[in-house]
């Protein structure tokens, strides 16, 4: 083989922040060989995305500075003029981004955007560019490319948009493709498809890939070699198998230990804490122990949900008539006991969040009953609802949106205590301090504002606020999804500790199967607003019976390169839409018990007869 396609030597990138230069990347060197996939892994702030931008020279000259040497096939990119660099971008190096909606121009058709790249970079005329663009859409396996050509970006799903981005990126046959978190915003089954597509195209085009990600599972799926970054520095640079099997640096070990792996929980009956590993020397601090048995099986259930249905009307036309309905939640029933964690899993749009919000009546359910502590919540008036809400609280996904930026943490935590008259004056202050301590923050931090905290700390504050009224049930809506791996593990440990200490019941809403396996007692899988499978965690994970559960489980990337899934077929399934015409009738289904307290949804006898 010839020399490396990309060779980065002593890369230093700095940004000017408030008059001072801060190093985002320090002394980074690595190579990408022809046809090789190198993954740069790290948590937020590690400098991985800045590295990608530096290679493309997309760091603004006014506020950024790049030093060192970035050579593409021996040609130093940093020495090129801006004019020459523009030719390199797109022609020799192409890039795809995390958010495919914002990387495509919403007012131009996708076909036009691909053809434009072809005309600009390869000098094709309009006809030839269109033919080539159609060929590219076929190449990224977009079904019925001819009709898709004239679609606008909003008419495509997230996965399809990412395919279009890939087609645009590959239009000029680049030698190097830089993919910056290309699957992070996608659902797990779609992610699996896109990863497969990138691998296949790489083989077909003999192209090198620089893959930026925070997800160790994705790394294991795709990378030949792994560069681990931490705070702007390279910690490790080795073949994928070596990084996963014999990591050298303590941080890599900590990172790997914090990643929940599907199947880790075989043989464990109850949720398991994550091990704490010192990122400096890699020492394991205490072996993780199975949580004590917190489930109050003898008591009547805390929460009983029966036939919960939530639909949203879609209005349209001149008179704003009801034209259809989003069947967000359809006939959902389950029980939850004190001290128990029930996980609701599913992909975006499956209704798991709406289920959580309907139970708290943040969204008004259309039908069904929610009984909490024996009381029907759905029929309650405003003042009664107020009493019930003390006992059920919610934690949200985005730690940046879930705290009021203009309220200090102390006053945000004190407010519910004061409003409900639980304490006054210094007693309220003491309660705030106790809450902060409980979630592992220093009580002195109460004077600070949310923007002075990291994402993980903010999520702890959000948990503290939810605990302010000493609730019995906490609905955690993707509560750890936006957090970095190591922070995620800490917050999950905190949640497990609080459950053991306070006997909390969690409704744990998540799309992350591996996290769910780790923390839950029971699991409910949702698909198109319905629970398609529900049962004890071990039964659902070791013996999934519903085809959708199986599909979901095989799509999860496993952080172990040796178990890299053998080439799956290049599926192009889409998530179906829950929008229905008025008066739509579901095919009648029923829950069937397949093993003790393990149910799956099947069409009824009558329903099967009807379709047959």
């Amino acid at each position: 083989m010839s020399g490396p396609v990309l060779s980065v030597e002593n890369l230093q990138t700095a940004f000017r922040v408030g008059g001072q230069w801060r190093w985002a990347v320090e002394d980074l060197s690595f190579d990408v060989a022809p046809g090789e996939t190198v993954a740069i892994v790290g948590e937020s702030g590690s400098g991985k995305s800045v590295t990608a931008l530096s290679v493309m020279r997309l760091v603004s000259a006014a506020n950024g500075r790049i030093q060192g040497r970035i050579a593409l096939e021996g040609r130093d990119l940093l020495a090129l003029s801006e004019e020459e660099m523009r030719k390199v971008r797109g022609n020799d190096v192409a890039m795809i981004f995390q958010e495919p909606m914002t990387s495509l121009n919403p007012v131009l058709t996708v076909g036009f955007q691909i053809a434009e790249a072809l005309r600009y970079h390869r000098g094709l005329d309009a006809g030839a560019a269109k033919a080539e663009a159609l060929r590219m859409l076929d190449k990224v396996r977009i079904p019925s490319a001819k009709t898709r050509f004239d679609n606008y970006p909003h008419q495509l799903s997230g996965g399809m948009r990412q395919r279009v981005m890939i087609a645009t990126a590959l239009a000029c046959k680049p030698k190097l493709l830089i993919a910056d978190e290309p699957t992070t915003a996608l659902d797990v089954t779609i992610q699996a498809q896109i990863l497969e597509l990138i691998k296949t195209l790489q083989d077909e085009e003999r192209m090198s890939v620089l893959f930026i990600t925070h997800d160790m599972g994705v790394v294991a799926e795709i990378a030949d070699r792994v560069v681990v970054m931490w705070k702007g520095r390279k910690l490790e640079d080795a073949p994928a198998a070596q990084v996963f099997n014999t990591p050298i640096h303590g941080y890599t070990k900590a990172l790997l230990a914090a990643v929940p792996k599907l199947g880790d929980m075989n043989g464990h009956a109850r949720p398991l804490r994550f091990p704490r590993i010192d990122p400096d020397d890699g020492k394991v601090e205490g072996k993780p122990m199975e949580q004590p048995d917190t489930v109050q099986a003898a008591e009547p259930p805390l929460l009983e949900v029966a036939g919960l249905t939530t639909r949203f009307g879609i209005r349209g036309g001149l008179l704003g008539r009801l034209q259809g309905q989003v069947h967000a939640v359809e006939d959902v029933s389950f029980n939850l006991r004190r001290g128990e964690t029930l996980a609701l899993v599913g992909e975006s749009g499956c209704g798991k969040s709406t289920t959580g919000r309907s139970i708290l009546r943040l969204v008004e359910p259309s039908f069904g009953t929610v009984r909490f502590g024996g009381r029907d919540v759905t029929g309650l008036g405003k003042s009664e609802l107020r009493d019930v809400r003390r006992d059920m609280q919610m934690i949200f996904q985005d730690p940046f949106a879930s705290l009021n930026p203009r309220k200090s943490v102390g006053s945000a935590l004190a407010e519910p205590i004061l409003v409900h008259g639980l304490a006054k004056g210094t007693e309220a202050q003491d309660r705030v301090a106790e809450l902060l301590r409980k979630v592992g923050l220093a009580p002195e931090m109460h004077v600070r504002f949310p923007h002075e905290f990291s994402g993980g700390q903010r999520q702890r504050i959000a948990i503290a606020r939810a605990l302010a009224l000493s609730p019995k049930l906490v609905v955690a809506d993707e509560a750890v999804s936006a957090l970095d791996v190591s922070v995620k593990a800490q917050v999950l440990n905190l949640m497990l500790d609080l459950q053991a200490e306070l006997g909390l019941a969690y409704l744990f809403i998540s799309h992350d199967m591996a996290v769910v396996e780790r923390v839950s007692h029971r699991v409910a899988v949702m698909y198109l607003g319905e629970i398609v499978e529900i049962g004890p965690r071990e039964a659902v994970f070791s013996d999934p019976r519903h085809p959708y559960t199986r599909k979901l489980l095989t799509a999860v990337p496993v952080p172990d390169p040796s178990r890299r899934a053998l080439r799956r077929e290049l599926a192009v399934d889409e998530l179906p839409s829950p929008i229905r015409k008025l008066g739509w009738q579901a095919q009648p289904t029923e829950l069937v018990e397949v093993s003790p307290s393990h149910f799956i949804r099947q069409p009824t006898e009558a329903g099967r007869a009807g379709t047959a």
Partner: protein, 296 residues
């Protein structure tokens, strides 16, 4: 637990740090300081008018009518021999009082309407905002004219009329961010904590949209001062002989060919104040916006 590096650092009182950051951002554009300085100087001059004015603004000196600027009358005299500088200083009081009062009224009422419409949405939102749109469709001068003509030209009525013309703009300005903010998770968390609607609106939404409203207010203050002058110019201002800038231009207009200073001084005064307020408003917006973006 996760303690980061800056945890040990001493913490300044939060309000002070917020102020510091805002002044820092305001500082980025030096012209905003000029705007602020001019506005403060005009306010000071208006407040101190009885002390610093060289003459009584109503005193008529028939002997020194239509004098060009000279020693005793720094900006000359008008048709009745009244000192223009003194009238200008006293006129500033009328302009500022009407401008500020009408803007404050419009800000309070308009923001409340926008906040309620944005928060409750639905039919209430549609009806209220359509009414606002109808008001907005009138040019503010014409609307002010109709209102003053109906109510009669007194200082209170002019203030109310100008306030009514700018209420729709404040309603619009307050409604849009209310709709974005109410979708934030912390509002959902507040509802889960059983906070009342009033508490959520006053304690959680208003502080987040207030900076945008404040910027709007500084720009609309300029507009109100201009509208007041325009109304006075067409004869619907505060009754003479009380000095107002618009009234001075109107009175001086008849002699504009031979005594241009009659019109020039009040015109320049309006120009400078409106310009300064616009510059100040831009500076405020720059000071407040980037931080809002960072926090969202």
């Amino acid at each position: 637990m996760s303690t980061s590096v800056h945890d040990a650092a001493p913490v300044a009182p939060p309000r002070l740090r917020w102020l510091k950051a805002t002044i820092g951002a305001f500082n980025a554009n030096k012209t905003s300081w000029a705007g602020l300085a001019i506005v403060l100087a005009v306010i000071l001059a208006a407040v101190l008018a009885p002390i610093i004015a060289p003459h009584d603004p109503l005193e008529q000196n028939i002997l020194s009518r239509l004098q060009p600027p000279y020693d005793d009358f720094y900006l000359g005299t008008d048709y009745f021999g009244r000192d223009i500088l003194s009238r200008l200083l006293y006129g500033a009081r009328i302009s500022l009082v009407i401008g500020i009062a009408s803007t404050v009224i419009a800000m309070v009422v308009g923001s409340l309407i926008g906040l309620l419409a944005g928060y409750y949405g639905g039919r209430f939102d549609i009806i209220v905002m359509q009414a606002m749109d109808i008001l907005l469709a009138f040019p503010s001068l014409i609307l002010g004219l109709i209102l003053v003509a109906m109510l009669g030209p007194s200082m209170e009525n002019i203030t109310i009329a100008i306030a009514l013309t700018s209420i729709p703009s404040f309603a619009r300005i307050a409604r849009a961010p209310t709709i974005t903010v109410k979708e934030r998770d912390y509002i959902g968390a507040g509802r889960a904590l059983a906070f009342s609607d009033a508490r959520i609106m006053a304690g959680h939404i208003l502080p987040n949209i207030f900076p945008e409203i404040l910027v709007m207010a500084s720009l609309w203050l300029a507009n109100a001062i201009r509208t007041e002058a325009s109304l006075a110019f067409i004869g619907l201002g505060v009754k003479p002989p009380i000095a107002t800038w618009g009234g001075m231009i109107r009175e001086g207009f008849e002699n504009i060919l031979d005594s241009y200073w009659l019109v020039l001084a009040p015109s320049l005064a309006i120009l400078v104040v409106v310009f300064a307020l616009n510059v100040l408003g831009d500076g405020l917006r720059d000071a407040i916006d980037p931080k809002l973006k960072g926090e969202r």
